[in-house]
């Protein structure tokens, strides 16, 4: 295994993988653990990863699939992390920020597959066909997952003030 090639790739792509992992897990420490677990697996088959047409896309797909398998395994559902400070913020939180906070909280409640679809569609800007390839499902499944997730989001957001909307 070409360790130097691996280290170079992690140096260039690590930040993007960590950001993607944060969007999936919603939590920075879990995100770091997710990326580390993924890279451990990637290192084992590094020749194949390095030879891929788009190694970055390959690694991102691995992160998503590791996330999905992680959440399927009960042992990994509750990982320790620094507790979130849930006291009210003393800042003057703007309306748009409040909307994003609600949205982020709702994303945390979504089933893993639905959250992954939203992240890949609206954060990674992947077309549905590509999302289907990453997740190993059909485009119709991607669209139905996206529709369900958006519907849930829509249920919550109408209760907010107009000015809180984006």
């Amino acid at each position: 295994v070409d360790q130097a090639s691996f280290e170079d790739r992690v140096a260039t792509s690590g930040a993007a993988l960590l950001r993607l992992a944060v969007m999936l897990t919603g939590e920075p420490h879990l995100a770091e653990d997710l990326v580390q677990s993924t890279l451990v697996k990637a290192f084992r088959k590094w020749r194949r990863v390095a030879a891929a047409a788009h190694p970055d896309a390959y690694l991102k797909a691995m992160v998503v699939n590791e996330f999905l398998s992680w959440r399927r395994r009960r042992t990994n559902q509750e990982l320790p992390a620094a507790p979130v400070d849930d006291r009210p913020s003393g800042e003057d939180v703007g309306a748009a920020q409040a909307a994003r906070a609600v949205c982020w909280e709702l994303l945390g409640d979504l089933p893993r597959q639905q959250r992954a679809v939203l992240v890949l569609r609206y954060y990674e800007d992947l077309p549905d066909e590509e999302i289907a390839r990453v997740l190993g499902c059909g485009t119709s499944t991607v669209r139905s997952n996206a529709a369900r997730a958006l519907a849930r989001l829509r249920e919550v957001v109408p209760a907010m003030d107009e000015e809180a909307r984006p």
């Binding site: 360790q3 691996f6 280290e7 992690v10 140096a11 690590g14 930040a15 960590l18 950001r19 992992a21 944060v22 969007m23 939590e27 920075p28 420490h29 879990l30 995100a31 770091e32 653990d33 990326v35 580390q36 890279l39 451990v40 290192f43 084992r44 042992t75 990994n76 509750e78 990982l79 320790p80 992390a81 620094a82 507790p83 400070d85 748009a96 920020q97 909307a99 994003r100 949205c103 982020w104 994303l107 939203l118 992240v119 609206y122 954060y123 958006l150 989001l153 829509r154 957001v157 109408p158 003030d161 107009e162 909307r165 984006p166």
Partner: protein
């Protein structure tokens, strides 16, 4: 109040994701190194697990008739025996039980013991029975992994900044407190404190899952821990050395801290199960039966050892072992005092 349009909804999602990007941990240059280190650790575990599985299979094939009625134990460090009574449970694959100060925890099988303090290196280690007064303040590397069972009359400091939320619950009938968090150096930390026992278990590792498993595994070790050691040092006997049927297959090594008056304190300081080399060394010394009158002076190890000899016929006999100057020791089986060689004593105090 009109519903959101599709575009508004998509904009909200995009802006939400964008606003959360700063949450991503800084892409530290250590990421690749952490991954490689984690992978090396897994390879070591797998390699040892394969070796252990092979050894267990071989021993099981040969020794099932012998071990019937004794419990399962055959090789060095075969933690997870059924000697411990109510709370006995097998550790997860690749893990072992460690017991000290009335509590027991699971730690990765490959971890060292007591690699902590002034001369500690970078090896992951369990620390048995740490007392607050250390001879020096050790400086830990950010890659050091530890599970410490320590006497602690006060609640440990928060593992995170801002302070971690403390959870309260009842562990096997005694009040317990726990906090999880992240240290400034990136390690995952957790502690479990049992105020009535004045004991704390503190874990600091590079993996969230490892820290969680250690903290989750905390159990009381009363009346007998998973290594077969009772809280009170058992008296020696019945005498078995040299008699017919003397055929130890495994030993429970139970260490008790000595009080000022030389008596053993009523709590296990450390314990472990052993087979293999230690059983052979003990059997050889006891079989040789070199009688001694008892050495002078206090035990240089500062501990009282009770060694439970588990025989092939299912019986258990206790030896009381004490160290003597110059590395030798002596074992009392309730009837005679027999000399133990330095190699046996070193193996007992590993």
């Amino acid at each position: 109040m009109s519903p959101l349009t599709d575009n508004q909804l998509e904009d909200l999602l995009r802006s939400t994701f964008a606003s959360k990007e700063p949450l991503a941990p800084p892409h530290a240059p250590r990421l690749a190194r952490q991954v490689l280190r984690r992978r090396d650790g897994r390879r070591r575990v797998v390699r040892r697990a394969v070796l252990a599985a092979t050894a267990v299979a071989a021993v099981a094939t040969l020794a099932v008739p012998v071990l019937r009625g004794v419990g399962r134990l055959s090789s060095e460090d075969s933690a997870g025996s059924t000697y411990g009574g109510a709370q006995a449970a097998s550790p997860a694959p690749g893990w072992r039980w460690e017991s000290s100060l009335g509590v027991q925890i699971q730690v990765p099988r490959i971890w060292a013991v007591n690699d902590y303090g002034c001369d500690q290196d970078d090896r992951p280690s369990v620390v048995r029975g740490a007392w607050p007064a250390e001879p020096c303040k050790p400086r830990e590397l950010p890659t050091k992994e530890l599970a410490i069972i320590a006497a602690s009359a006060v609640r440990p400091a928060s593992p995170a900044a801002p302070p971690a939320k403390v959870r309260y619950w009842i562990l096997q009938g005694v009040p317990a407190q726990r906090a999880d968090g992240r240290l400034a150096d990136g390690r995952f930390a957790a502690w479990v404190w049992l105020p009535s026992l004045q004991v704390a278990v503190m874990a600091r590792t590079l993996s969230a899952a490892t820290t969680k498993r250690i903290a989750d595994s905390v159990r009381l070790a009363a009346p007998t821990d998973n290594n077969g050691c009772p809280a009170q040092a058992p008296p020696a006997g019945p005498p078995r050395a040299g008699s017919a049927g003397f055929d130890p297959v495994a030993v429970s090594v139970c260490g008790y801290r000595l009080a000022r008056d030389g008596t053993a304190q009523p709590v296990v300081w450390f314990s472990y199960l052993a087979g293999g080399d230690l059983v052979r060394l003990l059997a050889a010394d006891l079989g040789r039966g070199r009688r001694v009158a008892g050495c002078a002076g206090p035990d240089p190890g500062g501990s009282a050892l009770a060694v439970g000899m588990r025989h092939a016929d299912g019986t258990l006999a206790w030896l009381r072992v004490r160290g003597c100057p110059a590395g030798a020791g002596e074992a009392d089986d309730g009837a005679t005092m027999v000399q133990l060689g330095p190699r046996t004593m070193a193996a007992l105090h590993r």
